[in-house]
């Protein structure tokens, strides 16, 4: 009998420790990254590190601007490309597709979300980069490159590896994830609301625009923000095709870098304390950025939808 109570007590405490471990991991993530990057923080400061464009390991000069720029720009472009397509897929899956097709296409989209990101990266390197160089680049030069003001963003000839290529591969990578969330949000709209609108003579688009999208807005925005978080921290899909050049390029077609690309390429090669510390600094910046994105997406938007 006494044994039972001892076990009971012990298990309760163990369970609490297990739960506490999550808190400990998250806190120590922050503390350890901060501690490891403190050398770089003291050497370069915060604002100077974020704005300095020089990343020169042999000279021991480290500025985070190129990597941060690449991370933000590739994330934003990938979201701009992925979101309309993802919403198109979601509309197709919830409103247009014939019923027998919905489950298989929906499952296909979800399975595609499960494919390891390194596969997207390898495909990008061996197939999409040449396609970009031979087919898309001339088209981009002829169209976007001719625009006033922003035309120079789309100029230059490259081997197909660069910021825009990485952004496109990234957008394909997050597409299934974004589409699945948008579809789930659309599916949560009560059928009776849609039917009422149809009964008033609304077309499918009227129903989408005036009933489904307003109802599912919070979920979709939350999903987009979570996709943003995913794109920020995605490593392997972009490492192959970004080019790893620590510069802020003048054209989106040129090679660049991002925080994750820099980490993946240089972490094991860092030969001095300051170099390693600067890389940890980049990791810390990425952690903080994605932390805020996740918190905003999860708790400002999705919290109101879930549970």
């Amino acid at each position: 009998m006494k044994k039972d109570f001892l076990l009971d007590w012990g298990f309760g405490k163990l369970a609490f420790l297990g739960a506490l471990l999550i808190l400990v991991i998250l806190l120590s993530l922050f503390v350890v990254l901060y501690k490891e990057s403190s050398l770089a923080i003291h050497t370069f400061g915060v604002w100077k590190f974020i704005t300095s464009k020089v990343w020169n390991p042999p000279m021991e000069k480290f500025g985070g601007a190129p990597a941060i720029f690449g991370t933000i720009v590739s994330t934003v472009i990938s979201i701009l490309i992925a979101v309309p397509v993802a919403i198109g897929i979601a509309i197709f899956l919830t409103e247009i597709s014939p019923y027998p097709l919905r489950t298989p296409v929906g499952v296909a989209v979800e399975l595609l979300a499960a494919i390891p990101s390194i596969i997207y990266g390898m495909w990008g390197l061996f197939f999409f980069a040449p396609f970009m160089r031979d087919k898309l680049q001339p088209i981009i030069h002829a169209t976007l490159g001719k625009l006033p003001l922003i035309g120079h963003w789309f100029s230059g000839y490259t081997p197909g590896i660069g910021l825009l290529t990485a952004s496109i591969v990234l957008s394909i990578m997050i597409l299934p994830f974004t589409a699945a969330i948008a579809r789930d949000s659309f599916n949560m709209v009560p059928p009776i609301l849609k039917e009422s609108a149809y009964a008033l003579g609304a077309t499918k688009w009227d129903v989408m625009k005036d009933v489904v999208i307003p109802y599912a807005k919070l979920g979709v925005i939350g999903g987009i923000i979570l996709s943003l978080g995913r794109a920020l921290g995605e490593t392997m899909a972009v490492t192959f095709v970004m080019g790893n050049q620590p510069v802020i390029p003048t054209s989106l077609l040129e090679p660049a870098t991002s925080i994750t690309v820099t980490l993946a390429n240089e972490f094991t090669e860092a030969d001095t304390n300051l170099y390693l510390s600067s890389l940890f600094y980049l990791a810390l910046i990425l952690f903080v950025m994605s932390f805020f994105v996740i918190v905003i997406g999860k708790f400002l938007f999705l919290k109101k939808v879930e549970r």
């Binding site: 609490f16 471990l21 309309p84 198109g88 897929i89 995605e234 490593t235 990791a283 990425l286």
Partner: protein, 280 residues
């Protein structure tokens, strides 16, 4: 043009556009899958799977070292991740129900789930690889376990909450302690759901590369020693794909297809179990 015709036209345009968007998305994705199947299957052979690690310029050898390494890393990650994940999920659902700390931990667990995987890799580098002075397989397992725990916590928590309170009350009425109730009633009722969560979490972490780059690193030799650098399919893929040798690049595609089959297989298995469990 009257308003009715206009609405109909706008409707048609939007429907065509979204069908096109769906097609475009699916085309990209099937292009990737098609490439993977084509490149992977054309290089797939017994030699490529069980052969010893290849040497530069030599057109023989296979992925034995990486397959075994990958299995070991994921196995140890599972061994670390499952108990911690399940017990933490149990706390959230059974002990801390409704309490402030449980709610905070549940939210933090969701945040931990979305931390970039490469950041987890740098973290484990700092706490394990740097102090001990060399890369090692077990550090890779720890990185993957850290990514796995929040997923298992989430599913365990959800599954345990679906167990009807009457079951627990019936057991309490017979004089069972809380531990007994959880072990003999709650876990038994929720075991399929928990297993599904475990399988899906393995599918999720099995294809991760970034957390292994600075932890388990890579090893061009066959090893079973988890305290030394060890090869994984993913990091091997990365290195071989970037190598100048055609044969190594072909091996990278073989690794890609093995990894994708493994990950998708686990994913489909998890979904099937969930499907049959919850249809009843």
């Amino acid at each position: 043009m009257d308003a009715f015709t206009k609405r109909k036209i706008v409707n048609a345009v939007v429907l065509v556009l979204s069908t096109l968007a769906a097609l475009l998305g699916l085309v990209w994705l099937f292009w990737i899958l098609g490439t993977l199947l084509y490149k992977g299957l054309s290089s797939l052979s017994i030699e490529a799977i069980i052969g010893p690690p290849p040497s530069p310029g030599d057109n023989t050898g296979g992925l034995r070292h990486a397959i075994v390494g990958q299995t070991l890393i994921v196995l140890f990650a599972t061994l670390i991740g499952i108990p911690i994940g399940i017990i933490a999920g149990t706390y959230l659902s059974e002990y801390g129900k409704g309490s402030r700390i449980a709610n905070i931990i549940r939210d933090l667990s969701d945040v931990l789930m979305s931390v970039p995987s490469i950041v987890v890799g740098t973290f484990v580098y700092a706490i394990m690889v740097k102090p001990l002075g060399h890369f090692m397989g077990i550090a890779g397992s720890v990185s993957l376990a850290i990514m796995m725990i929040p997923i298992i916590v989430r599913t365990t928590d959800d599954m345990l909450r679906m167990v009807p309170p009457e079951l627990r009350e019936a057991a309490y009425a017979l004089g069972a302690t809380k531990f007994k109730v959880i072990k003999d009633v709650v876990y038994r009722a929720a075991i399929t759901g928990i297993m599904t969560g475990v399988i899906l979490s393995v599918a999720r972490i099995g294809g991760e590369t970034a957390p292994l780059l600075f932890t388990s690193f890579n090893n061009n030799f066959f090893t079973l020693n988890m305290f030394q650098p060890i090869a994984s399919l993913t990091v091997t893929m990365y290195d071989y794909a970037m190598s100048p040798y055609k044969y190594w690049q072909d091996l990278a595609w073989v690794a890609a297809i093995l990894l994708t089959f493994g990950v998708l297989g686990a994913n489909i298995l998890g979904r099937l179990i969930a499907h049959y469990k919850f249809k009843k």
